[in-house]
C-alpha cells in the first residue's frame, strides 16, 4: 500500500461512476429482466375531480396476454393510505391517500386501474379496453379560490385548508413584533409573487420491479430513498420490514422528485404479493409528468418595513401553498422549510411567517430541488430590489446595509437559526469584480439613452440556504416523522482494499468518487482501492438517504468518524505489533511508525494482523471494520452572490442572459469539478424557473404541459457560459468544513434572472412580470397590458397536435 502523494480532498477528479454510466455498462431498474416477470400498466384518470360510478374491466381482462386487471375496489382492503411523514401541525387535515383510486379521483393522472400482463405491450393495449364512468365534480384549481371553500376537493374534510403554520419573532422571542414595525415604518413595500408549479423532470423515468421470491420482497426502484421506502412500505402494507429489501440501483436524477413513496411502488408490491411473480412497472414521460409529484406552486404576499436609509426593520410573509390533491411523503413540510429562510442573510428586527397549506385538484406537490428555500430566496431577493427602487438606492447597497457582517458570526437570526459561518462581503466583492458591475451599468445607461430595442438589466441575488438536513431534535420539534442523522461503515478487507457502505443514496451526485477521496485521505490508501456501496438495504442496512444537500455534510461526516474509529483501533494494534507504547505511535501516509525510530507498519500490515487475529492485544476483537452514525448539531449554511445580466428584446419580449456570475461559498470543497457541475446544473434549473418551465392546466384541470415538447426544459444550447468562482468559509458544524452544494445554484439563480429582466424594463413602466418570463409575457407587460396567462397561444409543441384531436 503506497501513500497518496497529494491530498485527494480538493482534487478535481473525474467521477468514477461516469464510465459505466456513459458507456451503458450499468443496469437501470427498467433493464432488469426476471424469469416469469409480469408487466404492470396504470390507467389514469382523464378528469381532475369526479366520482367513479362504474369500472368495467371485462373486455380488458379478455385481452391477449392479460393476467389480471385490478380496480381500486379490488385493492381497497389491502392498499392502506400512502404515507405522509410530516404532519406540520397537530390539527393538520389529511385525506386518505389510496394508491389506486376507489370511488373518487382528485386529480387528472390519478391511478384508477391496473393491467398486469405478460408484456408491457399487452398491458398497454388492454388499458384502453377498461371502461370507467365518471360523474364529474367541480374542479378546484386556483389557490385563492380554493381557500374560499366554495367547492371542496375533499368533501369529508369540510375545507380545502389543510393546515396553517405560523412563526412569529415576537412570540418566539427572537425579535420584535412585525405589526409594530410596519406601523412605525418610514417605508412599507408590499408585493405579491407567484411561484409557478414546476415538474422535477428527472432524466430517468420512474421504474419499479418487485420480486416476491424466496420469502422476501425484493424491490428495485428508481428512488432517492431506499431506506425510507423500505420502512414506509412495511408500515403501509404490514409486511414485516425485515422481509422487504429495497435496492436503488444507478438512478438517473431525482431533484427531490424521487424523494417519494409512490403509488406505483406500493401497487407493484401488492401485485407481486397477490400473483407470486415478479412485476415491473416503468412509466412513460407523459405519465411521469401527469402523476409524479410536482414542485413549488405558492402565492406569496410579502410586506417589508424599512427606514428611509434602507434599513429593513420587519418582514411579514403570508403564503398560500398548493398541496395538490393529497399529502405525499413531505408535502406539507416543503413550504415550512422556507419559513427559516425568508430573512436570508439579513438582520431584521421583526419577522412573521404564516403559511396556509391548501388542497386543489392537481398532482400533489412535494420536494423539488431547494424545497421551500428557493421560494423564500426568490421573495426576499425580489423585495430587496423593490425596496432599492422605492428608495432610489443601488440594490447592492441596500443588501450590504442589512446583511450579517463577517465578524458577527456565529449569528442567531430572527427566524431562530444560528448561522455558524459566512463571509458575504468576500463573495460579493469577488462576484462584482468578475461581473464588471460598473461597466455593465454604463452600458445599460447608454442603451437607455439611445432608446435601443435591446435593453440591459442587472439582477442580484445574495443568498444563503440551510443544508445538511438535519439535526434530529430540530426535525422532531418540527413534527417530522424521522431523524436527520446519517451512517457509514468501513470494511477493511484482508488484502488492504476498502469497502465503504453509506446510508446516503446517490442518484447522480458522485458520492462514489468523493467518498473514495475522503477515505483515501483519511486512511492513506489509493483512491482506486476504495469501493463505495450504497442503495441496497441488505448491504447498507440503515440510512436516511439523499436530499436537502445533506449527503456530504452529514453522511461524509459519518464516514470521517468511521475512519477515525478504524485508525484508533489500528493504532492500538500497531503499537502492540511494534511493541511500543501507543502514545509513541504516529500515523502518516498510510503507515504507523514509532516516533523517533525507523520502525513502522503499513496500515495493510495492521489490517492483515487484525484479520488473521493470531496475535491481538488482550480483549481486542478481530478485524478493523467500523461503523459510525452522525447526527448534526446544526444545519450548514452555504451562501453566495449571483449576478445576472440580461438583454431584453423589447420588440419581441425575448430574454437573453448575456452574463452570469456565480460566486458560491459552500465551505471546504472536496472535488471542485463535482462542485462546478452541481452549480451549473443548479443554475440551469433555477434559470428554467425564471424563464422557461411551467406546469399549465386547462380550466378542467388537465395538465397541458405533459410532454417535454410543451414543458420547456432548457439545454446547454439555451444557457450562457457561466462564470463561476468560490470563496471558502468552512462550516464549523462538521469536521470536513463542508456546507453542501446540491441546491445552491437553483436557489440563488431564479431571483437573479427575474431582478435582471425587471431592471432592464422598469424604466419602460413595467413593475412585475410573472414567471416564467416568456417572450409573450414580457412583451405584453411592455405594452402595459395584463398578464396573458400561461396559455399555449404562442407555443409550438405536441400540445398543438393534441388540440387537433390526435390527427397528424
Amino acid at each position: 500500500m503506497t501513500a497518496t502523494a497529494e491530498p485527494e480532498i480538493g482534487k478535481a477528479r473525474l467521477r468514477k461512476e461516469d464510465t459505466r454510466l456513459i458507456t451503458g455498462q450499468t443496469r437501470w431498474t427498467d433493464n432488469l429482466q426476471l424469469t416469469g416477470m409480469l408487466h404492470m400498466a396504470v390507467l389514469r384518470s382523464p378528469v381532475a375531480h369526479a366520482r367513479i360510478t362504474n369500472v368495467d374491466v371485462s373486455r380488458a381482462t379478455a385481452m391477449p396476454g392479460v393476467a389480471l386487471v385490478l380496480t381500486g375496489e379490488d385493492l381497497a382492503a389491502e392498499q392502506g393510505s400512502l404515507p405522509c411523514a410530516w404532519p406540520i401541525t397537530e390539527d393538520m387535515k389529511a385525506p386518505a391517500a389510496p394508491a389506486l383510486a376507489v370511488d373518487r379521483v382528485n386529480f387528472a393522472g390519478e391511478a384508477v386501474a391496473l393491467v398486469i400482463a405478460d408484456s408491457a405491450y399487452h398491458a398497454a393495449d388492454a388499458l384502453s379496453e377498461i371502461d370507467v364512468d365518471y360523474d364529474e365534480l367541480p374542479v378546484v384549481l386556483d389557490l385563492e379560490e380554493a381557500v374560499r371553500d366554495n367547492d371542496l376537493v375533499h368533501e369529508d374534510l369540510g375545507t380545502n385548508k389543510s393546515a396553517t403554520w405560523v412563526y412569529d419573532s415576537a412570540e418566539a422571542g427572537s425579535g420584535t413584533d412585525v405589526e409594530d414595525e410596519i406601523a412605525s415604518a418610514e417605508v412599507v413595500v408590499e408585493r405579491t409573487f407567484r411561484q409557478q408549479r414546476l415538474i422535477p423532470a428527472f432524466m430517468e423515468p420512474r421504474s419499479v420491479v418487485v420480486d416476491p421470491a424466496a420469502g422476501m420482497f425484493t424491490v428495485w426502484s428508481a428512488t432517492q430513498i431506499p431506506h425510507i421506502l423500505r420502512w414506509m412500505l412495511s408500515a403501509v402494507t404490514g409486511i414485516a420490514e425485515h422481509k422487504i429489501r429495497v435496492i436503488a440501483p444507478d438512478v438517473g436524477g431525482g431533484f427531490g422528485g424521487k424523494l417519494q413513496v409512490t403509488p406505483e411502488e406500493l401497487l407493484c408490491l401488492l401485485v407481486a404479493r397477490r400473483m407470486g411473480r415478479p412485476v415491473k412497472w416503468t412509466e412513460t414521460r407523459t405519465e411521469s409528468m401527469l402523476s409524479a409529484h410536482h414542485g413549488r406552486d405558492q402565492l406569496q404576499k410579502i410586506t417589508l418595513a424599512a427606514r428611509r436609509d434602507g434599513t429593513v426593520t420587519g418582514l411579514k410573509v403570508e403564503l398560500l401553498a398548493d398541496m395538490g390533491a393529497y399529502l405525499r411523503l413531505v408535502t406539507p413540510g416543503v413550504p415550512i422549510l422556507g419559513a427559516f429562510m425568508f430573512n436570508a442573510i439579513y438582520k431584521f428586527a421583526a419577522y412573521r411567517f404564516v403559511c396556509t397549506n391548501v388542497f386543489t385538484n392537481k398532482v400533489p406537490t412535494d420536494a423539488y430541488r431547494g424545497a421551500g428555500r428557493p421560494e423564500a430566496t426568490f421573495a426576499i431577493e425580489r423585495m430587496m430590489d423593490e425596496l432599492a427602487v422605492e428608495l432610489g438606492m443601488d440594490p447592492m447597497k441596500v443588501r450590504e446595509l442589512n446583511w450579517i457582517k463577517h465578524e458577527e458570526f456565529p449569528f442567531t437570526t430572527v427566524a431562530g437559526l444560528t448561522y455558524d459561518s459566512g463571509n458575504y462581503e468576500a463573495a460579493t466583492a469577488r462576484a462584482m469584480e468578475l461581473f464588471d458591475y460598473d461597466g455593465l451599468r454604463e452600458e445599460q445607461a447608454r442603451r437607455r439613452a439611445d432608446g435601443s430595442p435591446f435593453q440591459i438589466g442587472i439582477g442580484i441575488s445574495t443568498f444563503t440556504e440551510m443544508c445538511g438536513l438535519a439535526p434530529s431534535r430540530v426535525l422532531g420539534a418540527l413534527r417530522y416523522g424521522a431523524g436527520g442523522w446519517e451512517t457509514a461503515s468501513i470494511r477493511m478487507l484482508p488484502t488492504g482494499k476498502v469497502e465503504v457502505i453509506t446510508g446516503t443514496s446517490p442518484h447522480g451526485q458522485g458520492h462514489e468518487t468523493v467518498w473514495s477521496q475522503i477515505v483515501a485521505d483519511k486512511l492513506g490508501v489509493p483512491f482506486e482501492d476504495v469501493e463505495v456501496l450504497h442503495g441496497d438495504t441488505a448491504t447498507s442496512h440503515k440510512g436516511m438517504d439523499s436530499y436537502g444537500s445533506r449527503s456530504l455534510a452529514v453522511g461524509g461526516t459519518a464516514l470521517v468518524h468511521a475512519a477515525d474509529k478504524v485508525l484508533a483501533k489500528a493504532k492500538t494494534l500497531a503499537a502492540h505489533m511494534m511493541e511500543c507504547d501507543e502514545t509513541d505511535v504516529e500515523f502518516a501516509s498510510g503507515a504507523f511508525s514509532v516516533r523517533g525510530t525507523s520502525t513502522s507498519r503499513s496500515l495493510g500490515d495492521v489490517v492483515l494482523a487484525a484479520h488473521v487475529a493470531h496475535d491481538l492485544p488482550e480483549g481486542m476483537e478481530p478485524g478493523l471494520d467500523a461503523d459510525a452514525t452522525f447526527d448534526p448539531d446544526n444545519f450548514s449554511y452555504p451562501h453566495g452572490t449571483h449576478l445576472c445580466a440580461t438583454e431584453v428584446d423589447t420588440e419581441t419580449g425575448l430574454v437573453k442572459i448575456i452574463r452570469y456570475v456565480a460566486v458560491d461559498d459552500v465551505g471546504t470543497v472536496m472535488n471542485p469539478l463535482i462542485v462546478d457541475g452541481q452549480v451549473h446544473g443548479g443554475l440551469a434549473q433555477g434559470i428554467a424557473q425564471a424563464l422557461y418551465e411551467e406546469a399549465t392546466h386547462d380550466e378542467m384541470g388537465t395538465l397541458t404541459s405533459a410532454t417535454l415538447a410543451d414543458y420547456l426544459v432548457p439545454s446547454a444550447a439555451d444557457l450562457p457560459s457561466f462564470i463561476t468562482d468560490r470563496t471558502t468559509t468552512p462550516a464549523t458544524s462538521n469536521p470536513l468544513g463542508a456546507k453542501g452544494v446540491g441546491e445552491a445554484g437553483t436557489i440563488a439563480s431564479t431571483p437573479a434572472v427575474v431582478n435582471s429582466v425587471l431592471d432592464a424594463v422598469r424604466h419602460l413602466g413595467v413593475r412585475d412580470i410573472e414567471m416564467p418570463m416568456s417572450p409573450e409575457r414580457v412583451w405584453t407587460a411592455l405594452q402595459g397590458r395584463g398578464d396573458p396567462g400561461s396559455g399555449d397561444v404562442a407555443a409550438g409543441g405536441l400540445g398543438s397536435i393534441d388540440a387537433q384531436g390526435g390527427q397528424e
Binding site: 407523459t286 439545454s715 405584453t780 405536441l798 390526435g806 397528424e808
Partner: protein
C-alpha cells in the same frame, strides 16, 4: 411509450409503396424519417393499422439540377439538404431554414418531404416551400400529379395528399443569387417557432427587384406575406423601405401579429445586408 400494434411494410419501389397504401386502406401511414410520426405513435395519438416504411427508397433521395429548378427527393434528409451545393447556390433560403430545424440527431433522420407532409404549421420548412413557389410531385394509383405549395397545405396537419398518395419530389424554382434569411423566435433551441419569417430578396443595383416571404406558425398553415413582397418591389434596399413594407405582414394587434411584423423587418434587413 408503446405504440399500438401495426403492420410494418417495406416497399422496394415507389409504385409498390403506392400499391401498398391502396391495399391497406385509409388507416395506413407512410413512415419517412419518423421524427414526427414516431412520437405520435408512441403516445398513441395515432394508431395506424399499417406503416409503410419508405426509408429504403433511394430513388426518393438527393437533389438534382433540372435547369430552371431543383428537384429535391422527398426522402432527402435535412442534413443532406443543409450540405447540398445546389441548394446552397440556388435555394439559399431553404438551406438557412433547414439549419435551424431541431438538432443534429433529428436533422440526420428527418426528411424534407416528411416535414412538408406532416404539415405542422409550426414546422420550419413549410414557409420557405410556400415562399419559393415549390411544387409537390405526388405519386398515386393514377400516376403522378403536381400540386403547388399554395394548394398543398390545406389546414393544421392536413395536406392535399390523398390517403393513397405519396410525395416523391419537390420542385423548387431556382433563386440563384438571391439573398435570404430565416428569422426564428423560439423559447428554447428544441422548441418550435413561436413565429418565424423566411425571406428571400433579389437586389439589383441597390433596388429590390423581387421578394419572397413566408411566415411560420401564424395560422393553420404557412402564410405568404404577399403584401410585403409587392410593397418591396422597385424600392431601394434601405432600412426605410423595409420597415414601411414589413408592417404589412400583419394588421392585428396580438402578440403574433407583432412578431410577424418585427421578424419580417429583421429577416429582410438581415437578407439585404447579408
Amino acid at each position: 411509450m408503446i405504440p399500438a400494434e401495426f403492420k410494418y411494410l417495406v416497399p422496394s419501389t415507389v409504385d409498390e409503396a403506392v400499391r401498398m397504401l391502396a391495399e391497406e386502406g385509409e388507416d395506413a401511414k407512410v413512415l419517412a424519417g419518423g421524427q414526427s410520426l414516431v412520437p405520435v405513435l408512441r403516445m398513441r395519438l395515432a394508431a395506424p393499422t399499417a406503416l409503410i416504411d419508405i426509408g429504403g427508397l433511394t430513388e426518393l433521395t438527393g437533389v438534382r439540377d433540372e435547369g430552371d429548378s431543383l428537384l429535391i427527393g422527398a426522402m432527402t434528409t435535412h442534413y443532406e439538404v443543409q450540405r447540398d451545393h445546389l441548394v446552397q447556390d440556388h435555394a439559399l433560403l431553404l438551406k438557412l431554414v433547414t439549419d435551424t430545424v431541431a438538432d443534429p440527431q433529428v436533422r440526420h433522420r428527418g426528411t424534407f418531404g416528411g416535414s412538408l407532409c406532416h404539415a405542422d404549421p409550426a414546422g420550419d420548412l413549410l414557409a420557405p416551400a410556400l415562399a419559393l413557389d415549390a411544387v409537390m410531385i405526388i405519386a398515386g394509383p393514377g400516376g403522378r400529379r403536381e400540386v403547388p405549395a399554395a394548394d398543398f397545405f390545406v389546414d393544421y396537419f392536413t395536406t392535399a395528399l390523398a390517403p393513397d398518395e405519396i410525395l416523391v419530389d419537390v420542385r423548387v424554382p431556382k433563386h440563384t443569387g438571391w439573398s435570404a434569411h430565416y428569422e426564428k423566435l423560439n423559447r428554447v433551441a428544441q422548441a418550435w417557432s413561436i413565429v418565424a419569417v423566411a425571406a428571400a430578396v433579389q437586389v439589383r443595383d441597390g433596388t429590390i427587384t423581387a421578394a419572397r416571404i413566408g411566415l411560420t406558425n401564424v395560422g393553420s398553415g404557412p402564410v405568404r406575406a404577399a403584401d410585403v413582397e409587392s410593397a418591396l418591389v422597385g424600392q431601394p434596399a434601405t432600412a426605410e423601405s423595409i420597415s414601411s413594407a414589413a408592417v404589412r405582414a400583419s394588421s392585428g394587434d396580438g402578440y403574433k401579429d407583432n412578431l410577424a411584423r418585427v421578424l419580417t423587418g429583421r429577416a429582410l434587413t438581415a437578407a439585404v445586408t447579408g
